[in-house]
């Protein structure tokens, strides 16, 4: 049985998620699909599992008996399962109030219920060698057991191709080991396991072959034995290895100062012992892989989320402007008018009475001066394109004349032209004296914009030489400094 995806392309709005990607996996292998956030890994696997329809390309599954199935797209996960493909999603998809066997029966489409379903589930669990409490309610299970259930569900319909989307994110180290052992065994028995990950060490522990995606194109594919951690990291993060990052700014006074700062969110330690400064006139880029404390750090500086300082100090000069990453749920209220959205984010609270004529005039002027293409002050924010929405968010932020600007993924989802314009605005704000601290999950964006880079891993600021190369930043991101 072979899985082959040929020249798959997919756009989301103006963003290219996949651009002519080809991928193939053969029986007996664990195939790692590696890439940064937003590289297109999950999109590619969602296409293979019939969750997303590609715009171009072909999906081929070669059955054991030589029967070939070729289709431009699976219409649904049900079709993909019928072709022998199972998927373990990044987020659990089981129903917490149901029992283990009820969840398996639901996914596999069994007609049995109750005892009969439990017997059948027990049989499958034994065959797969993945012990599970069949009659337990899912809500009572640990994260590891819940994930085991996801795997059992994926394989309950006799799938021989197993797609796993970042399955180790929720697991403790010992549990990771058990999962990787299972995948090795599954492949040894003739199955195909495709493992989506951004963790290099897991790739080296388990994979036979590897495919690296970067910004929707394959940058590397081949036998793992021929690769080194550096060759993979560079395929992930980009070429242009030794270029030092020029110091662009003439920094002024300190506007943000963190000293031995530790932060928790919801009781979880997110940032540990971080010390750094951001001066007016400079752009500091925070590079980090998703979930390494960057969100909490930025939000603590912006003062917007329920992040708790448990140790150290954080001093921020006001006013602070915050540009949240989610335009449609945090930055803007889609059902509000442009004028209302602008008002909401402005710091001027001296006038409690709203003079709508003046507000409409001001809004109109701001739309014109920031080149925001919209119907007018009364149009709903939802009617704007992503680029124009982000321009509105920036116009609003700058209207506060902030001393500090905090931006999360400021150009995510924008087309190149809009992204350039936003980046130019951030630079202009820094030139005018704002201290800017920004994060992007795309390292290239951080490097393109930042005067200085701060790498966060597991909530800790990583040591970097004073003029780090991309290579050194990549190593710090992926925890390979020690391996050098």
């Amino acid at each position: 049985m072979t899985l082959r995806l040929s020249r798959i392309s997919k756009h989301f709005g103006t963003t290219v998620a996949l651009d002519g990607v080809s991928f193939s996996a053969i029986p007996g292998e664990v195939h790692a699909l590696l890439g940064e956030n937003g590289a297109g890994k999950s999109t590619l696997m969602d296409i293979a599992y019939g969750m997303i329809r590609p715009e171009a390309g072909m999906i081929e599954v070669q059955q054991r008996g030589g029967v070939a199935l070729a289709t431009p797209a699976f219409a649904s996960p049900r079709e993909a399962r019928a072709a022998g493909i199972g998927m373990v999603h990044q987020h659990f998809t089981s129903i917490p109030a149901f029992t283990v066997s009820e969840n398996i029966a639901l996914t596999a489409g069994w007609t049995e219920t109750g005892r009969a379903a439990e017997r059948r589930a027990a049989h499958i669990v034994a065959r797969l060698g993945l012990p599970l409490a069949i009659s337990a309610h899912v809500e009572s299970l640990s994260a590891q057991m819940r994930q085991r259930l996801e795997i059992v569900k994926a394989l309950a319909t006799d799938a021989s191709i197993l797609l796993l989307d970042e399955p180790t994110a929720v697991l403790a180290p010992r549990e990771v080991h058990e999962l990787l052992e299972f995948l090795r065994g599954f492949a040894a028995a003739g199955g195909i396991a495709v493992l989506i990950t951004h963790k290099l060490d897991e790739v080296f522990r388990v994979a036979d072959r590897v495919t690296v995606l970067r910004r929707g194109v394959v940058t590397l594919t081949g036998v793992l034995a021929e690769q080194t951690p550096h060759s993979l990291a560079h395929a992930m993060i980009g070429a242009d290895l030794a270029r030092p990052i020029p110091l662009k700014a003439q920094p002024g006074v300190v506007a943000v100062e963190a000293s031995r700062l530790s932060l928790t969110r919801g009781g979880q330690l997110a940032v540990v012992n971080a010390s750094f400064q951001v001066r007016s006139g400079e752009i500091v880029g925070v590079a980090a892989i998703e979930g390494n404390g960057q969100r909490e750090l930025l939000r603590a500086i912006a003062g917007v989320d329920d992040v708790v300082t448990v140790a150290g100090t954080l001093e921020v000069a006001g006013p602070v402007a915050f540009i949240p990453e989610d335009r449609s749920s945090e930055a803007l209220i889609p059902s509000f008018s442009l004028a209302e959205n602008l008002l909401l984010g402005t710091l001027d609270q001296s006038s409690w009475w709203l003079d709508w004529n003046a507000i409409r005039r001001d809004t109109q002027a701001l739309l014109a001066s920031h080149d925001i293409r919209a119907g007018g002050p009364e149009s709903q924010a939802a009617t704007l394109s992503g680029g124009n929405q982000q321009k509105l968010v920036f116009a609003r932020a700058l209207a506060r004349q902030p001393r500090v600007i905090v931006a999360e993924n400021p150009v995510r989802g924008l087309d190149i032209q809009a992204a350039d314009m936003i980046q130019e605005r951030i630079r202009a704000a820094a030139r005018n004296g704002a201290a800017v601290i920004m994060h992007s999950s795309d390292v290239d964006e951080v490097l393109a914009l930042a005067d200085r880079v701060l790498v966060l891993r597991r909530g800790e600021v990583q040591d970097l030489p004073s003029d780090p190369t991309r290579e050194q930043i990549g190593d710090a991101l992926l925890a390979m400094a020690a391996a050098r």
């Binding site: 917007v304 915050f322 749920s329 930055a331 209220i333 008002l343 909401l344 409690w352 709203l354």
Partner: protein, 302 residues
């Protein structure tokens, strides 16, 4: 032939009966715009009615109105503490608050009015000079009690609060997208708590209107679901104080129909008329509201 005196009487009764509904619904529309659906306003209204009776019995109608507002605020404070501060489920907290207020006012009423205290002072009908003589409009709208006039003031005030003030903008942001409001620096919890308290004060006033302008006494469970009707009115009025007032008048009319038909000596069973406002509430919710969306974050804790 429709008697014009009968028609004016019916319309005036609609306004009188609609007043408590409008007061409660305008307050609730403020709370709901902030994202809080408060089923506890039935309880707040009942507490207001009780407060009005006790206050009026001891210190006259002005004390009655004051005590009603305080009682409404107290009940709303409980709801705000549970549903805003402790982030409990709004539907369950509101129901619990109403049940609690029902039990408590019943218990206290047995103590307060043991001797069958029936001599409550009631609010006089105030004739507004000159405009009371405008045909139809005058006798219908301007021969009412001071609480109805308060309602006339409250409706534009609430509307201005929501759409003309910065606080109103922030309040509506809490109801549409609490995350965005937080990111903009709005204190969502505080804003929602204030909105709930405003709703509670209005519900208290509604209770006062029921006792001091309509019934003239307090009895257990006398609100009889008017608070819940007010919630339906808010939806029918599309979360807008003016629309809410119009919807309240419609429900007032449905209730007043009963009196008018009885006065006219109709043989239709009176229970049918008693049920009319509730049937209207269901029909209104099914027809008009289904197509209109309320605040996006209504009922979501933050």
């Amino acid at each position: 032939m429709i008697d014009s005196a009968l028609l004016v009487g019916f319309a005036a009764a609609s306004v009188r009966v609609g007043t408590p509904l409008a007061l409660a619904a305008v307050g609730e529309s403020i709370a709901e715009r902030s994202g809080m659906i408060n089923l506890g306003i039935e309880g707040a209204m009942l507490a207001g009615a009780f407060g009005a009776a006790v206050g009026a019995a001891h210190g006259g109608v002005a004390s009655g109105v004051g005590a009603a507002v305080v009682a409404g605020l107290l009940v709303a404070t409980v709801f705000a503490a549970v549903a805003v501060a402790a982030r409990a489920d709004q539907i369950i907290s509101g129901t619990a608050v109403t049940l609690g207020a029902t039990g408590l006012t019943g218990l206290l009423a047995q103590r307060a009015f043991t001797g069958g205290n029936l001599s409550l002072p009631i609010l006089p009908v105030v004739h507004v000079p000159v405009i009371e003589h405008i045909p139809l409009v005058g006798p219908v709208f301007f021969r009412q009690t001071v609480l109805t006039y308060a309602c006339y003031v409250l409706i534009p005030l609430a509307s201005a609060l929501l759409w003309r003030t910065r606080f109103g903008l922030e309040l509506r942001a809490c109801g549409e997208a609490p995350a965005a409001a937080t990111a903009a620096g709005v204190h969502v919890g505080r804003t929602r708590a204030l909105a709930v308290l405003m709703g509670g004060a209005c519900a208290g006033l509604a209770g006062a209107a029921l006792v001091l302008a309509q019934v003239g006494m307090f009895t257990e469970r006398m609100t009889a679901g008017r608070g819940f009707i007010a919630i339906a009115i808010v939806a029918l009025g599309r979360w807008n104080p003016w629309g809410t007032a119009a919807a309240a008048l419609l429900f007032g009319g449905a209730t007043a129909l009963q009196y008018t038909f009885q006065a006219a000596g109709s043989h239709v069973p009176y229970q049918l008329f008693l049920a009319l406002p509730y049937l209207l509430a269901l029909a209104a919710l099914g027809m008009a509201v289904g197509r209109h969306r309320g605040p996006a974050a209504l009922g979501q804790s933050h």
